[in-house]
Symmetry: C2
Subunit: 480 residues, 2 copies
Amino acid sequence: MDSSKWAELHNVFYPNSVAVIGAYSNEAVEKDRWTGWLLNLGYRGQVYPINPRAKQILGFKAFASVKEVPGPIDYAVIAVPRSAVPTALKECIEKGVKIVHIFTAGFAETGETEGISLQKEIVSIIRGSNTRVIGPNCMGAYCPAGGLGFGGKFGSGPAQEPGPISALSQSGSGMDSLFIPGILVRGLRFSKLVSLGNCVDLGLEDFLEYLAEDNETKYIFCYIEGIKDGRRFLEAVKKCTDRKPVVILKGGVTPAGARAASSHTAALTSSAQVWETFYRQARVLNVDSFEEAVDQLTALARLSEKPGRRIAIVGRGGGAGVITADRCEKAGLFVPLLTEETRRKIIEVVPPEGSGLSNPVEVGISGRGKVSEHYYDVLRLVAEDPNIDMILVRINIEVASLVVEIGDEQIQEFVDIWAKATHTLPKPLAVVFDRGEYWQAMKLAYRMREACSKAGVASFPSVESATKAISKAIQYYESK
Amino acid sequence: MDSSKWAELHNVFYPNSVAVIGAYSNEAVEKDRWTGWLLNLGYRGQVYPINPRAKQILGFKAFASVKEVPGPIDYAVIAVPRSAVPTALKECIEKGVKIVHIFTAGFAETGETEGISLQKEIVSIIRGSNTRVIGPNCMGAYCPAGGLGFGGKFGSGPAQEPGPISALSQSGSGMDSLFIPGILVRGLRFSKLVSLGNCVDLGLEDFLEYLAEDNETKYIFCYIEGIKDGRRFLEAVKKCTDRKPVVILKGGVTPAGARAASSHTAALTSSAQVWETFYRQARVLNVDSFEEAVDQLTALARLSEKPGRRIAIVGRGGGAGVITADRCEKAGLFVPLLTEETRRKIIEVVPPEGSGLSNPVEVGISGRGKVSEHYYDVLRLVAEDPNIDMILVRINIEVASLVVEIGDEQIQEFVDIWAKATHTLPKPLAVVFDRGEYWQAMKLAYRMREACSKAGVASFPSVESATKAISKAIQYYESK
């Protein structure tokens, strides 16, 4: 990507001035819309609310039109009824706005004649101009370091601190309600998010090229419904995967999904086979849902030590241990025997509980609800075993909540040990929870996972999600 | 199965008298052990606590040995230290006890010389006798209609009413903590459970033959680590699947899982391929975890109308709808277009919300948090569409909890509509929840699912689990 184009897209995330076209004069409403979100995120550039019937909105002088704004505008949000979008866009171009984000929906995605023709009008308005457009029908860009973003009740609101993950999405609601909360709950944060919508101008390809060269971005996620330029897209993804992992969720890979996608973002889709080939060629980590994307990024971001495939399972419960061992090997991980020496040392520090010490290692939350004083020592011995590359701690959450009745202070005791193991032992560690069914179990799992996130401990909501995500992360690093 | 053998096994579930060998004289303890559980489950036969140092336990006259019990004993639980098991067992045989359940662990599953030789001793003691043995190293039988069972803090405690599901398991803790809670939370109940342990005498094959002919059992689940007689097992399963669905979770299908299983219940396992062939031949619904078993039985028990594969997705959120459509088709379901007529009728009752009415149908929990008054009408119109066999209602739980802020009374409003649809419409309906991440979302999902269970509405914790389970249930019925 040449540096002038990179600088152009840099304005999307670090604009010096932002206009909000269609800011509400009712400040109680606008507080939870574009102008308010800039305030929430601590945006430090110029803010220009555009509303012909207001003098001032949330402390910023309001203007009747972008044309009346005295200084230059790097980024403008258009949030007016769809019929007013063409005029607003023309004015932005006249003003020389660098980036326009059209939030308004009701264009080609409706499938109606009026929406389709309005979208065509937008395309013809921007043709030949120097203004670049995001959308329509999307939430636009979010970059906490730039102070820019969408917010509200969801994820982006409380996440003012930046992190290593960047995401591009052709579904606003999917990203907002399924993806962002999952990442935040795991204690991870975002560098940049772009909700892309109908992509009349800037698309996935542009932002992938940008993110490939963006040092703030360590991991990339894309939710894709359709792409415009297959070859350029493939090249852009490859540029990224040479430097950092790319997780892709492709919506519309089946006939019904494709039909739903075309009515959602007016996207043209390709067959599942084409995508499979592409994933292999480009070393993409493909996932089947937003939830799986969250798990995959957790594995990448939390277990970045490039763990090997030889895993030790630590946790109590015979049948559950058998199923976990099966799950690991089905996912392409190995569950080798611990060495004789390790087993001998473990028996020295803890008396055998349950039936197995060879792997699975049946040590963990004990029947008396206490954190065994030697629990950390066992984790250390396992981590020091030459047969083992990483540790999977399995928590039977129903037993922990109902039999052992773990309370808040005990949650912290356990998490402190896992955190100590995570931060001091030579091998990575992940904590996985069996699915809770009873209310107490779900509550305990939530609290334990919350404490894990705060302590920087990798945790997963199920054995299946953990093993799948860990195995794919290893595969990516192995292919480098 | 000949009738005398059937009658013999019937004693396991409907014994006229039960001896508890090793009952605690401390009633506070025994209240939450075998004698107390008989009381909890309303057992109406004779109860004989066996304890040489007690006169009476929990209101029942205690005896020093089974040999001193005046009447006959149908079922005896042996819950004494392992070294005392051989003597207790010999006395049971002398007394002519019909069924002995050895709860005590510490036999071949330990892999130690002492445990292995004690198990051999047990085998030689029972050889030639008329006493049949369950275990050792297991929880034995549970049958609420017979008033017999294990209890405690887990599932079986609160489930005194019988239901259509019977389960056989070679893992006590797996069934107790992973399987039973899931079934109970879904509002389903059990006819019979057997925790089998090391199977020195009675095994899977015996109970499968019994359950095949048991009219109280409509659905069967087995957790298997190893089988003794492959041919007899296959025949027994086939006898069952000719009459009712059998869900099997096989532990130890990978090398590591098999090794873990051998140290857990001393089971001999076979390769994954042998099992795959067996599943096909015997029309078994195989699953990969206890959680998946719960979902599979929910699909079978709640959607027993033998729905076809053409599914309508009803719920808001564009991207989530695309992914759900993909998930359905990947699982072997079809997401056809609604007829023109249905779409026309839907538009008459509700103004279009979101972008799609063709399928996915974007109608549901609205932005204003109200149950649309026409919500039921839309479900009815969809159910009446000739292209559609069943309805999948998808709930974006983060949106429902955080944007719409649904309260308790609204939960009931929604569930009432789903219940009305379930019980009045010509097609089955299932409600699926996206995985909740924030605390509010998890809480709302739990409450909604709890209300669904009470109202007899099928619900699933994820789109993936629902589509997989539904598709396999249909496959079983199609193969009949």
